[in-house]
């Protein structure tokens, strides 16, 4: 299996190159036979990549430590769960994993367009096969081949980083990778539109769902990452503006901008160059994210020297994307002229444009903050690092403006909005926003940015609720439907609009969750068994926590779940004097990673706040592990995180809205099918649907 997998990887490169060359020739010479062969190369590379990936998983499952990659990220007693996840545990495997998803999506795109949109397909296939070739060249020639051998077989592997031994490991990275790779399809169609010269809104209609799919996976992947950080890293936060986190945020920001600005092109025939540039930028950022996190550049600037080759190949590829994009756009500039102009600054297109500028401002700030250490060391010699204070100072104001726009955009009409109508539509939401602000002020909240967030959030939420109410009421009146049915039909009839509003509602709730962080409370206390700690909540009540004692686990002959040793503290919780259950928090070390003990936090989550307990220190660890009664003293960090749950609720609502927008709506794509639409209901889901 391993040999076959390695062979498959080597075979995939000539096949991908064949496809890339043939597809472009097929497009230029209009040769259908070459095109069919090129399309088959996409399926073939997908098949070969599946074989290569199965070979790696097989090597992990069978503890084939003669492979460098397996030896670096696995050990004998590692859970099967994480052995399968070994495919994306490290740089080498995750590049293959990237290619696997890329080829999956490429195959779906080629298959679903085998009988439609044929004029685009030679170039689409050409672009997809070129990108596949790029990743194969990296895998095979940049010292990152997952099949590279050590030359000897170690008795056991070095094990997986303990922080990765968490169930989110099997969920978060694949979701992000799905998001990164799905965006290749809109990029391929955009380049195909430029090359074929068919530059009406057709390519946008064809790829809107792919863009949304990519956005959906990125959004979920980012939220999953936040949840993982919150559960596992044990510092009570969920976002640290870490370069790897930022890298996943960048393409999401530009994809969000794109999802808004393509509506202007579809509705008004404007911003064609802008949209084209955003597609290229977003794709570039998905590659950049992979580059940043998987080239070794990010852990340390000094690893740059060791990873020189892969960094240069990536930089060359990214330059090629920019170069090709710019040249093609300039070449097609006459066909990309705007059909309209913005008529008024009080219009939805103006609001969308402003939203785009804000998103790009955030994008640039995040990018700059992420790259500054690299730039400063490269140019000045001294490494300058910026942390959360920089990112928060820059992004909170932009974020609040964006949040406000979420409420303004939907209420402003396309083309021109009259002040009178604005007044009519904004009076209630603004009043609610101000009322919430006043109520919080009276309740004693004094944190400026948080208050502004809550006020704007209330304003936006009112706008959304009123929109749903008005739309539903219109259906109740016209269709004489009952309210619940009218509501469901309203959403079902225009999933794009209402799905978008549901996403907005999720964003609002998430922002409120972020703002809750401003009121976070934390104390650190050392306790002996039987002693208690008082933890006041910012919401007024307080918790009493009694430390009951430690229990320990030491690995015997047959280790359970890869654990070498574990110390677990039990706490009894009372809320306002009433029993509120128990909590356990632990420190543990995993086999092969004994020098990196991790903390397992304890959480008591409720709608308004989380009680979050960390076993920060066990001063006499050796004694505790020997169950010495005099070695039971431990230090806890107690936290109350207000509204943190709202981040996860918001994330779920965003996912729901995204799914509604993605759901096939059965509106036919072919020109004359409206006449016989019922026969085609439930047509193609992705490319080809709009």
């Amino acid at each position: 299996m391993n040999v076959l997998g390695e062979l498959a990887l080597w075979t995939a490169l000539p096949v991908a190159l064949w496809g890339a060359v043939l597809a472009f020739v097929a497009g230029a010479r209009q040769r259908g036979d070459l095109q069919l062969s090129a399309e088959r190369s996409i399926y073939a590379v997908f098949f070969l990549t599946v074989l290569a990936s199965l070979g790696i998983i097989d090597a992990f499952l069978n503890d084939r430590f003669e492979y460098l990659y397996v030896a670096s990220y696995s050990n004998r007693s590692l859970d099967t769960f994480y052995k399968v996840a070994g495919l994306w545990s490290g740089q080498r495997g995750s590049l293959l994993f990237w290619l696997l998803f890329l080829m999956l999506f490429s195959s779906i795109a080629v298959w679903s367009n085998r009988r439609q949109n044929r004029e685009f397909m030679p170039y689409v296939v050409g672009v997809l096969a070129s990108i596949a070739s790029f990743f194969l060249i990296i895998l095979l020639f940049a010292d990152v081949n997952p099949y590279a051998k050590l030359g000897f077989t170690p008795a056991d592997g070095q094990g997986l980083n303990p922080q990765l031994q968490n169930y989110w490991m099997t969920i978060h990275p694949p979701t992000l990778y799905l998001g990164f790779t799905a965006f290749t399809i809109p990029f391929a169609f955009a380049i195909a539109a430029l090359l074929s010269g068919r530059l009406d809104s057709r390519w946008i209609a064809l790829t809107r769902r792919w863009t949304l799919l990519s956005w959906f996976f990125l959004a979920n992947g980012i939220v999953f990452g936040m949840r993982w950080a919150y559960e596992e890293l044990g510092w009570g936060g969920w976002w640290f503006w870490d370069p790897v986190e930022n890298a996943s945020l960048l393409p999401w920001l530009s994809a969000t901008a794109l999802l808004h600005s393509i509506q202007i092109q579809e509705n008004r025939g404007m911003l064609k160059v802008w949209n084209m540039s955003l597609v290229i930028l977003t794709f570039l950022l998905t590659i950049f994210a992979t580059f940043l996190t998987r080239s070794g550049l990010i852990e340390s600037v000094h690893s740059f020297a060791q990873e020189l080759r892969i960094a240069y190949i990536f930089l060359g590829f990214m330059s090629a994307i920019i170069g090709v994009g710019v040249v093609l756009i300039l070449w097609r500039l006459p066909k990309l002229r705007s059909e309209n102009q913005i008529e008024s600054f009080l219009s939805r297109e103006a609001a969308f444009l402003f939203n785009n500028l804000m998103l790009l401002a955030v994008l640039f700030a995040v990018w700059w903050g992420t790259m500054l250490p690299l730039f400063s060391e490269g140019f000045g010699g001294e490494k300058i690092t910026v942390g959360p204070p920089f990112f928060n100072a820059v992004n909170i104001p932009f974020g609040l403006v964006l949040l406000a726009l979420t409420g303004i955009g939907p209420v402003i009409a396309w083309r021109r909005a009259s002040k009178q109508n604005l007044k009519k539509n904004f009076t209630l939401p603004v009043a609610v926003g101000v009322a919430v602000l006043a109520a919080l002020w009276l309740a004693g909240a004094r944190h400026g940015a948080a208050l502004a967030t809550f006020g704007i959030a209330a304003f936006v939420m009112t706008v959304i609720v009123v929109e749903f109410f008005k739309g539903t009421r219109a259906r109740v009146r016209i269709e004489q439907e009952r309210w619940p049915f009218a509501f469901l039909h309203l959403v079902a009839r225009n999933r794009r609009r209402w799905g978008g509003y549901i996403v907005h509602a999720g964003v609002v709730i998430m922002f409120a969750g972020f703002a809750g962080n401003a009121f976070k409370a934390e104390i650190r206390q050392t306790l002996d068994p039987g002693e208690t700690a008082e933890m006041p909540s910012p919401l007024g009540h307080s918790y009493t926590l009694t430390y009951e004692g430690l229990s320990t686990t030491l690995a015997g002959a047959a280790p359970v779940r890869n654990v070498r040793w574990q110390v677990e503290a039990l706490l009894r919780v009372e809320k306002e004097g009433r029993p509120a259950g128990t909590l356990t928090t632990a420190r543990r070390a995993l086999i092969a990673q004994e020098d990196m003990p991790t903390t397992e936090v304890a959480m008591r989550s409720s709608f308004l706040e989380d009680l979050y307990v960390i076993l920060s220190d066990v001063p006499d660890l050796r004694g505790a592990l020997a169950n010495d009664p005099n070695a039971q003293t431990v230090t806890f960090t107690f936290m109350v995180n207000p509204l943190v749950g709202w981040i996860w609720y918001g994330g779920m609502i965003i996912a729901l809205g995204g799914l509604i927008g993605l759901w096939p709506d059965g509106v036919a794509t072919r020109a004359r099918t409206p006449v016989r639409a019922p026969a085609r209901a439930g047509g193609p889901v992705l490319a080809g649907a709009d």
């Binding site: 040769r31 190369s41 085998r114 439609q116 004029e119 209609a205 396309w414 008005k470 039909h489």
Partner: protein, 157 residues
């Protein structure tokens, strides 16, 4: 031995799969299928969607009466131009499809009479109040109350 046989088999299968179309002369289409929208038809669809949004904005009180009428006139004119272009394209390329001509005449008549649905583009029988395909109210003369009951019903464009 098994490994070598498997490897040879794999490579041979891939090569055959790729070369088969070229050797056997099978080919993939490189042209727009005849039932797919042309540029003009896409434009028409986009205009109809824009019309739907204008209707919605008006019904929910985001557009004033005057702007609404002006925008509707503009968009209806754009839709007609797109339809004429589409007709030009089809008569140039698909003279062998007479039903298409009838379809265009019907759609065009429907746009003028308000029986073409602004939401899904379907043609409806004259006098219909609601679209038979998607259920959205149509803009026929004398059809019922305005969507939210408060605004007066506009004249058809």
């Amino acid at each position: 031995m098994t490994v070598i046989a498997g490897a040879v088999l794999l490579v041979a299968a891939v090569v055959f799969f790729l070369l088969h179309p070229i050797l056997s002369g099978r080919h993939a289409s490189l042209h727009r299928e005849r039932d797919e929208p042309t540029e003009a038809e896409s434009r028409r669809r986009v205009t109809l969607l824009a019309l739907r949004d204008v209707e919605y904005d008006y019904a929910t009180g985001k557009l004033g009466e005057e702007d609404y009428q002006a925008l509707k006139r503009e968009l209806a004119a754009e839709a007609l131009v797109a339809l004429t272009d589409a007709e030009g394209e089809s008569s140039a390329s698909r003279q062998d499809v007479p039903w298409l001509e009838r379809e265009i005449v019907r759609l065009r008549g429907g746009l003028a009479a308000g029986t073409t649905c602004a939401a899904c583009g379907s043609a409806n029988e004259p006098g219909s109040r609601f679209c038979a395909y998607c259920g959205i109210p149509l803009d026929t003369p004398g059809s019922g109350s305005a969507p939210d009951g408060s605004a007066p019903r506009p004249e058809p464009a």
